[in-house]
Amino acid sequence: MVDYTTDELLTILMARQVTNKDVMIVGVATPIVWSAFTLAKVTHAPDAIFHYLMGNTFVWEARQVSLLWLELGAASRCHRLHNTGECTLELLPHDILTTIEFFRPAQIDQFGNTNNTVIGDWHKPKVRLPGAAGIPDFSGLYSAGQHLYVPRHDKRTFVPAEKLFFRSGVGFVDGTRPLTDYGLIGRGPKFVITNLAYLDFDPKEHRMRIKTVHPGVTVEKVQENTGFELLKAPDLKETKPPTETEVRILREKVDPLGIRKLEVLTGKERAELLEEIIRKEYSRVDRMPPRL
């Protein structure tokens, strides 16, 4: 069996969700998402198009993931294909194109509602988070369903509805009614990919369930790290592990500096990696993240 790390597993599972017809919305500071899209583009989805928020633009070609030279890859005159006219408004998920975007919630409940705004009471927050950006606008609109990922599956993130401090992204609301009753026109959350499992939502109860568990992870472990009861899919099985090719291309071509790991690591390990990436990128002599 091929050797892989958690960040590689996550990235590869996310990449597999991309289809050849997708427009892939790349936000800022989400190197796992960028790596996943780039991996998809250079493997099974060559016709997929990047839509960079960092560039306000559609981009056809793939380049290596970069921390410091993001604008050169995404915004360069010689790279972007189309200047999107209106920031955010053209990012709205489209019915004809299957626009996809991966959101990373700070909290998520059993109905897929998410919080990226605040820890504690909004009026007197314990921790004020950066904010939910476009999630409140778009979360109810995805006709292809909302794509979610959580690099650290634990009870701080997976909380019961009553402990969600602020609903900044809408999932299935309270799960009792069809989304159209709330005025929502999207399909609701489609899946949550974590370091432990692939979770989806029961089509009747609109509650989160375990669809596959990652190799070496038990159903019990997933449940233990979740703050509410997870349903189990009738065909619950093990996640198909990364292939040797997927891992190799990700490591060697898509993100050789390991920038994606910044979303997974913590503490000293993370600080050291960050320093290493910065030094390597500032000392580039070839200037531009290479085309893939």
């Binding site: 928020l53 560039g55 604008e71 904010g131 979360s139 900044s168 929502l184």
Partner: protein, 289 residues
């Protein structure tokens, strides 16, 4: 045509008043008008508000320096480097008022100004808690279909401050990288200050890709400030200074820490002195693209 070219000091003195809602262009680490922000702090402006599509070090410095009493962003942070330290602390302590914004509430709020509309509708925000903390955003039913929608109010910016790579003396600004909402900020604000890396001919603007996204009719001041976005980026000239960002976050672990940062890097006699302080030619060479 009135002379628009002036010093940073003059531009801020002339066009930024206590209490103003300031629209700062760029996005988190990218093309932020930091030199103009430092000048606002030096001039001790008070009770300002900031509206920014995605906020970063400018809003955070203004908060640390006590210039802000309100903030309107859809996101504010230091990307992979962490939270905006002064912002986190000030909001936690209830020291500034937060207008909880989203990408669309800002984009539509600006569009409403130039469409002369008292609101714009959005099919979003429904069933989110944004509606609980923004009593000026309301649910309503579509007058044609009855669909549930949300009404977003206009955002009237007093002064837009936009850093661009190129501007001409008439005030046309050209942005070579992403524009984000900077054109809408400039077009809808009551006054607009453009800071730029280089002042060029109008003919140059016409030949650049994107032409003059910031239109001359809306620009009151043009200020040449090379490296005026440091430590954020200004494409195509330089990228952001990750080391300085980390240093900033380090300083700002406490409110007193920011005061030290302010003394060291903001309370300087000139932009040239600032560039020496941050490391001079060595640092500049590091970030050049």
């Amino acid at each position: 045509m009135k002379d628009k070219i002036m010093s940073l000091k003059e531009a801020i003195e002339l066009y930024v008043e206590d209490g103003d809602l300031i629209g700062i262009g760029g996005l988190s680490f990218w093309r932020k008008a930091t030199a103009a922000t430092r000048e606002i702090i030096r001039q001790k402006k008070k009770n300002l508000g900031v509206v920014s599509f995605v906020g970063g070090i400018c809003a955070d410095m203004l908060i640390g320096a006590g210039c802000l009493d309100r903030i309107r962003t859809s996101f504010i942070g230091m990307e992979l480097f962490g939270l905006a330290p002064n912002h986190r602390r000030a909001v936690g302590a209830g020291q500034i008022k937060v207008f909880e914004e989203t990408e669309a509430t800002i984009a539509l709020g600006l569009k409403a100004i130039y469409l002369k509309l008292p609101f714009l509708p959005l099919r979003g925000l429904l069933e989110t808690d944004i509606l609980k903390v923004r009593d000026d955003i309301k649910e309503f039913n579509c007058p044609l279909t009855g669909d549930k929608l949300v009404a977003c109010p206009p955002i009237q910016v007093d002064v837009a401050i936009i850093h661009v790579p190129y501007a001409d003396e008439k005030g046309n600004g050209n942005i070579q990288g992403p524009v984000w909402l900077d054109d809408d900020l400039a077009k809808t604000a009551k006054k607009t200050i453009v800071t730029c890396e280089k002042i060029v001919e109008t003919e140059d603007i016409i030949h650049f890709q994107g032409k003059g996204q910031i239109p001359m009719q809306k620009v009151d001041a043009v200020v040449k400030v090379p490296f005026g976005a440091h430590p954020t980026s200004c494409f195509p000239f330089y990228t952001y200074d990750a080391d300085h960002m980390m240093k900033y976050i380090q300083y700002c672990q406490t409110a007193d820490g920011f005061k030290e940062y302010e003394k060291e890097y903001i309370a300087v006699a000139s932009h040239e002195e600032y560039l020496e302080k941050i490391g001079g030619i060595k640092e500049i060479l590091k970030i050049m693209t």
